[in-house]
């Protein structure tokens, strides 16, 4: 009788066991917008970038945790002393997802297509140090070199963004070398990825990666719905959550959230110093005064911003580079201190006087200005409100104005009809060369005073010189020295007042194993190949 019962029990388990064996594991999360392209060379938006990261095979990958370069399709590489030529030795016996063999010809094809001006690849812009077309030489099936017209700063790191395409596959961009392949795209609804059957990586015990069979990327623009879906278990992760959501989730499901420490995202404000702006001359004089800018900066209580607005998930910002950028961060910089007495001294030294609790400039104008920011961003609105109260302590009346985003961009980029602006900054690229369009005085993103025909100040001229020098230098240590000086000048002159650097906050289901969120994008799934998710049958769930 007992034997009969055991047999019955085993028979009862059989269907469940076979179902578990057949049911593929699936990871689900949301894309915040429709991917604009599946062509890896044309990627210019976050959703397409996510698909490229999950499907594209690259020669060199920046390890998001250590920020070191890891060999992927290239077993090794060598950059010449001038920083113009890079030679790769490729991994043999690798196949594309459709079975087409991978060789040096594919790298040559990808680089030719990437650098072809007709392709209009945003990725190619980072490689363009000169107008000359790069020369690509294939010396064997596993050796290829690329020669650029001029030195390219941080050349090898740029290949993290170049997904290799097949020169011969009839499936063209659908043949990939990454861990996943696009299985189905339902416009407006979802992108389904399935495991690349020919992916070359295996784990320590020889099991072919990735572990998770399928990924479903739901297209969901509404972050509140995304949050509800996560709470219901309909999606497995949210790559980046704000501090409020993080704390709410931490209260409801503590094991589902992780603060990975300081991220690359900062909040900053700046004053309009544009000569062409329609501001009154006396206001332009205030905003061009370093003492005034530093005084405002020192009157802002950054510790309170971190504690109240970000609930402790942020730190006072030191400067343009976050400490999360391990190599390029200038560790000698400190955040501007919260020191009202020092702020008052700076203002007095610049001719400002306080009368009846109000600050007046040397010509008797009451100091009052507006701060614009984008409507709908609660944290920025809170920061603005707190700055408003902080500046009252030094007699400055601040008007906070929230604008819809197009109106805000119109003012800061076209009409220059604004006084100060509060916005965020995210340096996705760790290398400072990616910030040339911010720091060069002639650049359009030199927000406080863009498109200058010649540098308006001596310190801007020095920044121009240093940025150009670092961009043409090959040795990383020398480049670092130049860029440290840039960071120091920016901290001293305060054209941007860096307020806080946010922490990287992610939400990931406890069902997902091996997760190890980091500060760099893509925070929660940077190690996608190693993530595991046990298949849960109805009974086990």
């Amino acid at each position: 009788m007992k034997r009969c019962l055991v047999l019955t029990a085993l028979l009862g388990l059989l269907p469940a066991a076979s179902q578990a064996a057949q049911t593929p594991s699936e990871l689900r999360f949301c894309l915040t917008a429709e991917p604009k392209t599946f062509d890896p060379l044309l990627v210019d938006d976050g959703s397409s970038e996510t698909v490229r990261y999950l499907t594209g095979g690259v020669l060199i990958r920046i390890n998001r945790k250590t920020q070191q370069l890891n060999p992927e399709l290239a077993l090794s590489w060598n950059v010449d002393t001038q920083g113009r030529r890079i030679t790769f030795r490729l991994r043999p016996n690798v196949k594309f997802s459709d079975g087409t063999p991978f060789s040096a010809d594919d790298v040559a094809f990808t680089m030719q297509r990437l650098m072809d001006p007709e392709t209009h690849s945003p990725t190619a812009d980072t490689f363009r140090s000169s107008d000359a077309v790069p020369r690509i030489a294939v010396s064997s099936p596993v050796t290829v070199s690329v020669l650029f017209g001029a030195p390219v700063a941080g050349l090898e790191r740029l290949f993290d963004q170049v997904a290799i395409m097949s020169a011969k596959s009839p499936r063209k961009i659908a043949a990939v070398l990454g861990p996943y392949v696009v299985a189905e795209y339902k416009p407006g609804t979802e992108v389904d990825l399935s495991k690349n059957p020919n992916y070359w990586k295996v784990d320590a015990s020889g099991v072919r990666l990735p572990y998770i069979d399928r990924i479903r990327l739901e297209i969901q623009q509404n972050r509140d719905i995304e949050l509800v879906k996560f709470r219901r278990g309909e999606i497995d992760l949210i790559n980046s959550v704000d501090a409020d959501t993080f704390d709410d989730l931490a209260r409801l499901a503590p094991r589902s959230v992780l603060d990975a420490g300081v991220s690359l995202e900062s909040e900053m404000m700046w004053f309009n110093q544009t000569a062409a702006s329609p501001l009154a001359a006396y206001k332009q004089t205030w905003f061009r005064s370093t003492a005034f800018r530093r005084a405002v900066s020192e009157a802002i209580n950054r510790a309170d911003l971190c504690r109240v607005v970000y609930r402790g998930h942020a730190r006072p910002a030191e400067g343009p580079i976050s400490p999360a950028n391990q190599f390029w961060f200038n560790a000698s910089l400190k955040p501007h201190p919260f020191d009202v007495a020092s702020a008052r001294r700076r203002l007095e030294s610049d001719g400002f006087r306080v009368r009846g609790g109000q600050l007046y400039d040397r010509e008797g104008h009451q100091v009052e200005f507006s701060l614009i920011t984008n409507a709908g961003n609660r944290n920025r609105e809170r920061i603005a409100s707190m700055i408003q109260q902080d500046l009252q302590a030094i007699g400055i009346h601040l008007n906070v104005v929230t604008l819809d985003f197009p109106s805000l961009i119109e003012r800061i980029a076209k009409t220059f009809n604004y006084e100060s602006c509060l916005l965020g900054l995210t340096n996705l690229d760790l290398d400072p060369s990616a910030q040339m369009n911010v720091w060069l005085s002639s650049a359009s993103n030199h927000q406080w005073n863009p498109n200058q025909p010649a540098p308006a100040t001596a310190w801007e001229a020095e920044i121009d010189k240093l940025m150009r020098a670092q961009a043409s230098e090959v040795k990383a240590e020398i480049r670092k020295r130049y860029f440290d000086r840039v960071q120091q000048i920016v901290s001293e002159q305060a054209p941007f007042l860096y307020l806080v650097t946010k922490n990287s906050l992610t939400a990931i289901s406890p069902d997902v194993q091996n997760s190890s969120p980091v500060a760099l994008t893509p925070q929660a799934f940077w190690n996608i190949e190693l993530l595991r998710k046990p298949v849960l049958t109805a009974g086990s769930r």
Binding site: D224, L227, V228, R231, D244, T245, D247, D248, L249, L252, D304, R307, V308, V309, E368, F369, S370, I372, A375, G376, N377, R378, E381, R382, A384, S385, M386, Q388, Q389, N399, V400, V401, T402, L403, D404, S407, E410, N417, Y418, E419
Partner: protein
């Protein structure tokens, strides 16, 4: 007057009185008690504090005062504008009437929210919060007259063609006298009804703008921006529903208090 109307007006008066009597809390509404952000209700803060440590009750009372002053003022402006445009079109008829009807149709088909956003973006940046809120309500009045104008035009036409107007004409009464002595006095109930109907529309319009963060600028509270606390479903607490309750009660009271629109024939 119906009993429900009396009750509604009493509730509105009580709300307004409470808001007026709270004048002493005007400073507290913007003061940030940064050591206690998001505090639960207590004797010091009966509705707790918001995310920046500001007194929720003080902010609600301040916002109530503003909304109950500015929304009726703006509705009055819209109704007067509607009376002028609709009344003249309805009374004189002909070409002017046809033109007015087209303009009213055009105004009613405009996406007012986008218009408001565009107009608001053009406001001077250094306007004080009360000025910017007044301008927002002013814009509502400029954009919100078309609906009442259509009703007033129809009412005026009806009065123009009524028996007593014809009788006055037959007895040799001049048009200005008919307008002044017969039409305008008889339009009063219609105008009052339009005024009372427009107030809750403007209150809700401001609430929509506030919910988008496009109403009064910081640190000024309005009913709309107080509702933003309800946007995160996981951090909602009972006391956060009080502003919503106040808006619902006020809008309902304005609707209940609306007088009947009958015109004499």
């Amino acid at each position: 007057m119906r009993r429900s109307q009396i009750l509604a007006i009493a509730v509105l008066a009580a709300l307004f009185l409470a808001a007026l009597l709270s004048a002493m809390t005007a400073e507290n509404q913007s003061r940030q008690f940064r050591e206690i952000p998001g505090a639960r209700p207590s004797s010091a803060f009966p509705l707790g504090t918001d995310e920046l440590g500001r007194d929720r009750l003080a902010r609600l009372l301040f916002a109530t005062r503003i909304s109950l002053l500015l929304a009726p003022a703006s509705a009055l402006a819209a109704t007067l504008l509607a009376a002028l445009v609709g009344g003249v079109a309805g009374y004189f008829g002909g070409f002017w009437d046809r033109c007015t009807v087209r303009v009213i149709d055009l105004m009613l088909s405009l996406p007012w929210l986008f218009l408001l956003l565009a107009a608001r973006a053009l406001l001077p940046l250094n306007a004080p919060p009360i000025a910017s809120l007044s301008m927002t309500y002013g814009l509502l009045a400029l954009l919100g007259w078309a609906g009442p104008a259509r009703v007033i035009r129809a009412g005026t036409r009806k009065l123009r063609e009524s028996d007593f107007t014809l009788q006055a004409l037959a007895q040799g009464c001049g048009r200005p006298r008919i307008l002044w002595c017969h039409v305008i006095p008889n339009l009063k109930p219609l105008l009052l009804a339009q005024l009372w109907t427009t107030i809750p529309v403007f209150i809700l319009a401001e609430a929509n703008l506030g919910l988008l963060g496009l109403s009064a600028s910081e640190p000024f509270p309005t009913w709309g921006n107080l509702l933003r606390d309800l946007q995160n479903p996981f951090s909602v607490r009972p006391e956060m529903f009080v502003p919503l309750a106040v808006i619902v009660v006020s809008v309902a009271c304005f609707k209940l208090a609306t007088p009947p629109q009958e015109l004499p024939t």
